[in-house]
């Protein structure tokens, strides 16, 4: 079976769902409309000649203070033709939502939960969208750019006593 060019096939069949194509360092990135991400993924998985049957990675990125603020990158791999593809969707800063692709690949289950926990992106249709890495009652989404790192200032001799007084040492 011959491998078809994913960009041409996508532009031909998906039409306006494809917003942009970027080629950088030998990798192809197709920017897609977020509302139609499930159709796009099904297209890439099931079409003969493309057959991207493996989801490698779901990475969420925060481009604060640019708008659109969030991006989710799906890294796809075709074991049959041995090639990779990245699908990228851009999401607005307030209320970022997009459909979940767990119906297409089950591997997205834990990865989307992590994107929700760390960045606050809501995946509609996810079977179990809860916090996964942080405690259940944590407030805030840690990997956002406006969330502080939360570091404790380093204790030098000039501020040692001040920090020591505030540190919650454990009693017996």
């Amino acid at each position: 079976m011959n491998a078809f060019n994913p960009v041409d096939m996508a532009r031909g069949s998906l039409g306006d769902a494809v917003q942009d194509v970027v080629e950088f360092r030998g990798e192809t990135t197709i920017v897609v409309d977020p509302a139609r991400i499930v159709d796009v993924c099904l297209f890439f998985r099931d079409t003969e000649g493309l057959e991207y049957n493996f989801l490698e990675d779901v990475a969420a990125v925060d481009y604060y203070p640019q708008e659109p603020r969030f991006a989710v990158c799906y890294q796809l791999y075709s074991m049959i033709y041995n090639r990779t593809l990245r699908l990228k969707v851009y999401l607005p800063g307030d209320n970022p939502r997009l459909p979940s692709i767990t119906p297409v690949w089950n591997a997205a289950n834990f990865q989307e939960r992590e994107a929700y926990d760390m960045m606050g992106i809501v995946f509609e249709g996810h079977p179990n969208l809860r916090r996964i890495l942080m405690p259940e009652d944590w407030e805030g989404h840690p990997q956002r750019k406006d969330y502080p790192l939360g570091y404790e200032p380093v204790q030098f001799s000039f501020n040692y006593e001040d920090i020591n007084r505030l540190k919650p040492y454990a009693k017996e």
Binding site: W138, L149, K167, A170
Partner: protein, 161 residues
């Protein structure tokens, strides 16, 4: 000094009892299996045949906190894990000691951020801190020896009250 002097002054008996009890405690201190991260692998290496921990009486790593004396906190303690750590510490019966193994347990090490507790002494009281990332087995054994010295110096007045 005659027998009467020794019988009258019970100081001799007390000191010998302390030494005996502390000797018993140090030579058979059972650690609790509390390996969290990379330091746990070095703790397992210390347990294995090259740097043998069983020559110090510590070959039995007890998973149950009710049966152990020493909690070696090996690895980084995160905010999600801290309540679990405190619950396990509370379940250990007296006498109990805590050894903070590695930089992450002592002072959060490389990770100065929202997710890691900045030193496990915020959660449980620590007796000995062992530095290193991860500490070599020799460093851990030195830490255990230091703890033994500390235990040998304990007096009845402290723990019998």
């Amino acid at each position: 000094m005659g027998i009467a002097g020794k019988l009258g002054n019970l100081g001799v008996v007390t000191t010998t009892l302390e030494t005996a009890v502390n000797w018993g405690r140090t030579n058979a201190m059972w650690p609790m299996l509390f390996g969290l991260a990379c330091c746990a692998i070095e703790m397992m290496s210390t347990q294995a045949s090259n740097y043998d921990l069983s020559r110090f009486g510590m070959e039995l790593m007890r998973p149950s906190p009710r049966q152990s004396d020493l909690m070696i906190v090996a690895g980084r303690v995160t905010r999600k894990m801290a309540p679990v750590l405190r619950q396990l510490y509370d379940q250990m019966p007296h006498p109990k000691w805590v050894l903070a193994m590695g930089d992450c347990a002592s002072c959060s090490g490389v990770f100065n951020n929202y997710a890691v507790v900045q030193g496990v002494d915020e959660v449980v009281p620590v007796d000995v801190y062992v530095a290193g990332c991860p500490p070599r087995p020799e460093q851990l054994i030195h830490g255990i020896m230091t703890l033994h010295e500390k235990v040998k110096g304990e007096r009845i007045a402290d723990w019998a009250s």
